[in-house]
């Protein structure tokens, strides 16, 4: 009886630690006195989400989370702060005149989410993910066979984003 418990428990402990870490980082993003510190805590929160993706066996999402969100988006946010004159001058208050309404909105959303979680009949056993959709190699196969048009469209979209970014920053 006590022997079969450990393996799920380790996963649960890791999940609990990562969930708490993510939540704590998320909270610090909002209440940090310095906007730059908020950005750094955001990296921690994103990392925690990546770890939860790993626990959910969503490898590609985890890789994408680390590579794109931590690698690029976080850099972008840090640069955006450094580009803003006011933000680079000392401290910024995390509160503004709508913070009360924001807190109320967050509370309502949380209650709605809680009711939703209680209501949905969650299955006891998780459904097995088809191998060709869960593994990264399977995903690579789908990119160039089933979803090839969408894949090339993504390339087009990225090119538009590239050109749009340059136009917005350069043409004033």
């Amino acid at each position: 009886m006590p022997i079969e418990i450990p393996i799920p428990t380790v996963t649960q402990v890791i999940f609990l630690v990562m969930a708490l870490f993510t939540a704590a980082c998320g909270l610090m993003v909002v209440i940090s006195r310095n906007l730059f510190h908020s950005a750094l805590f955001l990296v921690g929160a994103l990392f925690g989400v990546a770890a939860i993706f790993v626990l959910l066996e969503a490898e590609f999402l985890a890789v994408g989370q680390v590579l794109v969100y931590i690698g690029a988006i976080a850099t972008l946010i840090v640069f955006a702060i450094m580009l803003t004159r006011g933000m680079m001058r000392g401290r910024t208050s995390p509160m503004n005149h709508v913070s009360g309404r924001g807190a109320l909105g967050a509370l309502v959303f949380f209650v709605a989410l809680l009711a939703f979680l209680k209501k949905v009949p969650w299955p006891e056993q998780a459904q097995a993910i088809p191998v060709d959709e869960s593994l990264i190699a399977g995903l690579g196969d789908k990119f160039v066979t089933t979803y090839v048009v969408a894949f090339e469209a993504v390339g087009l979209l990225l090119m538009v984003a590239l050109i749009g970014a340059v136009m917005l920053a350069r043409d004033r």
Partner: protein, 140 residues
């Protein structure tokens, strides 16, 4: 599957432990003899000539934007590269088209001067000129 990432977890714990020891031990054991030079941002580096808390050129943001786009490109390359051996020539052509589309955007950025860092003003390049004027206004 998640168990496959156990080495990663061990590495994270080891890295954090190492950092904690490397930072913690000197803080506890080391003698503390502070002087002005020790509080310089760089040891044995260039002496700071201005406050670091200033506005940075928009160029940084542009480079970060380009980085985001090409980072997403890499994300798409990754699953493709894992399985390329089994996919054959067709997949290679598919990816070549994908990269070619992005290359068009890259060439556009290059031609528009998105990769220039304002070293020289080229004739007829009103964009760079307007930036120079702006930075002069800022200095005044």
């Amino acid at each position: 599957m998640a168990i496959d990432y156990l080495p990663l977890l061990i590495l994270i714990i080891l890295a954090m432990g190492f950092a904690a020891i490397a930072m913690g031990l000197p803080a506890v054991l080391g003698p503390k003899l502070p002087n002005k030079q020790k509080y310089e941002p760089y040891e044995s580096g260039i002496i700071p000539f201005a406050d670091a808390r200033r506005r940075f050129p928009v160029q940084y943001y542009l480079v970060a934007m380009l980085f985001v786009v090409f980072d997403i490109e890499v994300i798409f390359l990754y699953p493709w590269a894992v399985i390329l051996n089994r996919l054959g020539l067709f997949a290679l052509v598919e990816m070549a088209i994908f990269l070619l589309i992005l290359l068009v955007g890259y060439v556009y950025c290059w031609k528009r001067g998105a990769l220039d860092w304002g070293g020289q003003v080229r004739p007829g390049d009103d964009v760079v000129e307007s930036q120079v004027v702006e930075s002069q206004v800022e200095e005044e």
